[in-house]
Each structure stands twice: as structure tokens, then as C-alpha cells.
């Protein structure tokens, strides 16, 4: 049994979650404080990966990341890095694909906080950035956790986009979900069974943790 696809999935999920966390804070800052009038448009763009078929997203990413594509050319020239059919490409794809899973919970939690927290911080002379970091984000810790865990789990389960931009290169782009597909293609049902069962169990445990946490918080508030 080859465990490397799981290690690759884990590595991809960890890097994606970390990058998305760092990226979503300034993104949320921009949308929450400055994008008031165009918020519906921005939210719609960010949420696109939720409804788009992964093949559509994968197709556009492929166009963008291939050596002739805008981003592919840029990365080739600057970093001598090929993005399609490589782990780096997968990271970019995953970040785009999981963006709504991180940004949406944080943004809606911010919108549900009383406006007076923000206003009170302003009256104390605090800047927007200071208000976000010291007042707003610490009061939505639960949503930050949920965003992080859901992003991680969603990246582990990603398939369509990875297949489109990464293919199935062992130790490079063959993540757990792709490995299952390969095993079934080769009629290795025994291996596919084990892989699938592990992913099923993992997904269930993640969701159980998220909902137990939310349940406990609701109970403690009540």
C-alpha cells in the first residue's frame, strides 16, 4: 500500500490553509472596510468556486497556468518554475478553489458583530487595521477555526481541479482523491477501498469536530 498520496494531500491542505489564512485577512479587511458598495459583486466572485463545476475552474486555471498563459509565463521568467502538472500549480489551484471556505465564514461573522464594536474602537482613536486585529478578529475566533478546518478538509477532498491542472504524477500531484481514481481505473478495488474509507472517516471526523464545537458554543451561550 502506497501512503504517499495521503502525505501529499496533507501537505497540500496544510500549505493551502496557511496561505489562505494569511491571504484572507487582508482580503476581508478590504471587503469589510472599503468594499461596502460593491460587496455583493466581491462576494459573488469569491463564492464562484462553490457553484462552478471543478472542471470549469480547472480549465480556466489551466489556461492561466500553462507555459503560454499569463501566470505560467510570469512564474517561468521570474522563478524558473513550471506551474502546470506540478505541486506549486496545485497550491495555486487549491487556494482559488477553497477561497470561499475561508473567507465566507470570517466575513459573515464580522457582519454579524455589533457595529458598535467597530465604532467604539474608532472613537478610541484606533485605525481600521488596529480595530480588525485587536477587536474584531479576536471576537470571531470560532469562525476563524471553522474557516481553517473547512479549508483543510475541503482541500483534502479536492479532485476535479487537481485532475485538470495537476494530472496524476506520483509524489508530485497524485493526491489521495486522484489515487483512488487511479486504483479504480486499474481495477485495484482493495486499495481503492482502503483509500476511500480513510477519506470518508477523515471527512466525517472533521465535520463532527466542527459541529460539536458549534453545538458546545451555542449551549454555553444559552
Amino acid at each position: 500500500m502506497d501512503w504517499s498520496p495521503f502525505w501529499l494531500s496533507f501537505k497540500l491542505a496544510l500549505i493551502t490553509t496557511t496561505l489562505l489564512f494569511l491571504l484572507s485577512i487582508p482580503l476581508v479587511y478590504g471587503i469589510y472596510f472599503y468594499g461596502k458598495n460593491i460587496r455583493p459583486v466581491l462576494k459573488a466572485i469569491i463564492s464562484l468556486p462553490l457553484v462552478l463545476p471543478p472542471t470549469v475552474l480547472g480549465y480556466y486555471l489551466l489556461i492561466l497556468l500553462r507555459p503560454q498563459g499569463w501566470l505560467g509565463q510570469l512564474s517561468q521568467q521570474w522563478f524558473d518554475l513550471r506551474l502546470v502538472f506540478s505541486f506549486s500549480g496545485l497550491v495555486i489551484g487549491s487556494v482559488v478553489f477553497s477561497l470561499p471556505f475561508m473567507v465566507n465564514p470570517i466575513l459573515s461573522a464580522l457582519e454579524n458583530l455589533p457595529n458598535t464594536y467597530r465604532e467604539a474602537a474608532y472613537t478610541l482613536g484606533k485605525s481600521r487595521w488596529n480595530t480588525l486585529i485587536n477587536v474584531l478578529l479576536p471576537n470571531i475566533k470560532a469562525s476563524l477555526w471553522v474557516g481553517g478546518v473547512m479549508t483543510f478538509a475541503h482541500t483534502i477532498g479536492e479532485f476535479g481541479v487537481i485532475l485538470m491542472i495537476g494530472g496524476s504524477i506520483p509524489d508530485e500531484t497524485r493526491v489521495a482523491s486522484i489515487a483512488i481514481y487511479n486504483e479504480v481505473e486499474m481495477l485495484n478495488y482493495a486499495n481503492a477501498n482502503v483509500y476511500a474509507a480513510i477519506l470518508l472517516l477523515f471527512s466525517f471526523i472533521v465535520l463532527l469536530l466542527v459541529y460539536s464545537y458549534q453545538h458546545q458554543r451555542t449551549r454555553s451561550i444559552l
Binding site: Y117, E119, A120, T123, G125, K126, N139
Partner: protein, 283 residues
């Protein structure tokens, strides 16, 4: 402080055109009164820079905070204000001490916190989280936090509304002490006449976005004829017996041939004119 404000506000039913102007002297406490939705909170928010007026100007001690022409608009952070919100808006992630520390400007020594804690007697609460405090305690912390920056203008949005009468009067005392200590211009939005009478040097009564009365609280609050004994709306008329709604309670009076002279919905008032007691319909 000179305030002239114009703004189109969305009222609960019809839009309200807020158009007010007033001057407040340093060290003065001014109360803004009026029915819900009259634009009282909006006035505070415009002074604080949290809401943009359509036109007008706000200047405090010679500094222009807002002017529509020529265009000036200081950000909230640049205005020397303390604001106590109706829901207090203490930050739940910080303890009382941390809330105050966060509010303390860098040019003030940390001893300022101890001084204000002592002044309003909350030293024993410093390690508590705001959610563990009673309404009155939260109110005190909010007041302390607002005053730490030594603001020129203190804005209070119905700060005592959620408290019982005993706590209310204690905190009103505290407010007077703090106001004397810090000599702010204090603008207080309130529904409560006794509160306004106790605290304010001047009161404004606002209706439909306009100041309809202003002056010493005693003249604004007692806006009826000094001889009036009872004033109310007729709820029912039965033979010579009339039930009146008087300030949210019911009073029953007997008037000869009541059903001939009065109808449901009439306003009736009874006044003492020298030695004669009269009752009549108010038009």
C-alpha cells in the same frame, strides 16, 4: 462647540429632514430629548464622525471637525471624543483592565487607569470579562473607557436606559463627579425627564428633526400650563364617568353629563385656576 447639521434621515415611517443648530459652552451638560426616531442618536453619530451630515458644520474649541463648505471632515479617530453607546460596546475578548488599557492613548501614563478606576469604584472588577458584569458595572466601565482619552466632547446615548432606578441615580452621581473632574462638553441623549432634570444644564426637545423647545430643563420638561392638574386622552365615556389615559396609566374621573360633552379620543385637561377647578376639552 458649535453644531449646525442637516441630514435626510430614514424615519420609521416617513423620511425626516434633520435640521438643527446649537452652541454648547465648555463644561456644560446638554440633554437631547425627543420621541424615538426623532434623530437623536444620529446627532451624536454626526458629532462623532460616524455618520456624514449632508450639510452644516461642527467646530469644537476653534477646530473645525466638519464643514460642508469649504469641505472638511475629520475622521472619528481625529476627533477628541468619548462615546458611551447604548449597548456599552465593551470588547468581550478583553477584561475590564484590558479594555481600559486598549483605550489608553500612548501619551497618557498607565496611572490614569488607576485614577479613573478609583473615581468610579470598580477596582475590584479589573480582571472580569465584560459579559460577567451587571448592566451598571458595564456602564461604569464604558464611561471610564470613554473618558480615558480626556476627550473635549463626551457623547452619551441613553446611557442609563437599561438600569433600575437605584443604579441609575448612583451612576448619575458618578457622571456628575467625572464631568466636573474632566470638564468635558457633555451631550446626553435621554428619554428620562428626571435624569435630564438632575444632570443637564440645558435641554433640547427634538421633534421631526427640528428643535421645538430649548432652555433650562425645568422649562423644557414642564411644557404644560403650570396650573394643570391632570391631562389625558379619553379612553371610554360611560354616563358621567370618564376613563383617561394619563402618561401610560389610567385615571377615572366623574364629570357631569360626560357622555354629552366628551368623546373617545378627546384630550381633556383639568386645571386649577385660583380657587376654581375647571375641566375642558383641549383643542
Amino acid at each position: 462647540m458649535n453644531v449646525q447639521l442637516q441630514k435626510q434621515l430614514r424615519g420609521s415611517t416617513d423620511p425626516i429632514h434633520l435640521n438643527i443648530s446649537f452652541d454648547i459652552q465648555p463644561g456644560e451638560i446638554v440633554a437631547i430629548m425627543g420621541p424615538s426616531g426623532a434623530g437623536k442618536t444620529s446627532i451624536l453619530k454626526m458629532i462623532a464622525g460616524l455618520l456624514l451630515p449632508d450639510q452644516g458644520q461642527i467646530s469644537v474649541g476653534g477646530q473645525t471637525w466638519f464643514s460642508s463648505q469649504p469641505r472638511t471632515n475629520l475622521r472619528t479617530q481625529q476627533r477628541s471624543i468619548g462615546y458611551v453607546f447604548q449597548d456599552y460596546a465593551l470588547f468581550p475578548n478583553m477584561s475590564v483592565q484590558e479594555n481600559l488599557k486598549y483605550a489608553l492613548p500612548s501619551d497618557q501614563p498607565p496611572s490614569t487607569i488607576d485614577e479613573i478606576l478609583e473615581l468610579i469604584r470598580i477596582q475590584n472588577l479589573v480582571d472580569q470579562k465584560p459579559t460577567a458584569l451587571s448592566g451598571g458595572q458595564q456602564q461604569r466601565v464604558a464611561l471610564a473607557r470613554a473618558l480615558l482619552r480626556r476627550p473635549k466632547v463626551l457623547l452619551l446615548d441613553e446611557p442609563f436606559a437599561a438600569l433600575d432606578e437605584e443604579m441609575r441615580s448612583k451612576l448619575q452621581q458618578d457622571l456628575i463627579i467625572l464631568h466636573r473632574r474632566y470638564q468635558t462638553i457633555t451631550v446626553l441623549v435621554s428619554h428620562n425627564p428626571s435624569e435630564v432634570a438632575r444632570l443637564a444644564d440645558r435641554a433640547f426637545l427634538i421633534q421631526d428633526g427640528k428643535v421645538v423647545q430649548q432652555g433650562h430643563p425645568s422649562t423644557v420638561l414642564t411644557n404644560t400650563d403650570p396650573n394643570t392638574l391632570l391631562e389625558g386622552e379619553v379612553l371610554t365615556v360611560h354616563n358621567d364617568q370618564i376613563t383617561l389615559v394619563v402618561k401610560n396609566s389610567l385615571s377615572v374621573i366623574r364629570v357631569a353629563e360626560a357622555s354629552v360633552h366628551y368623546q373617545v379620543g378627546d384630550m381633556l385637561f383639568i386645571s386649577a385656576d385660583k380657587y376654581r377647578i375647571q375641566q375642558k376639552k383641549k383643542t
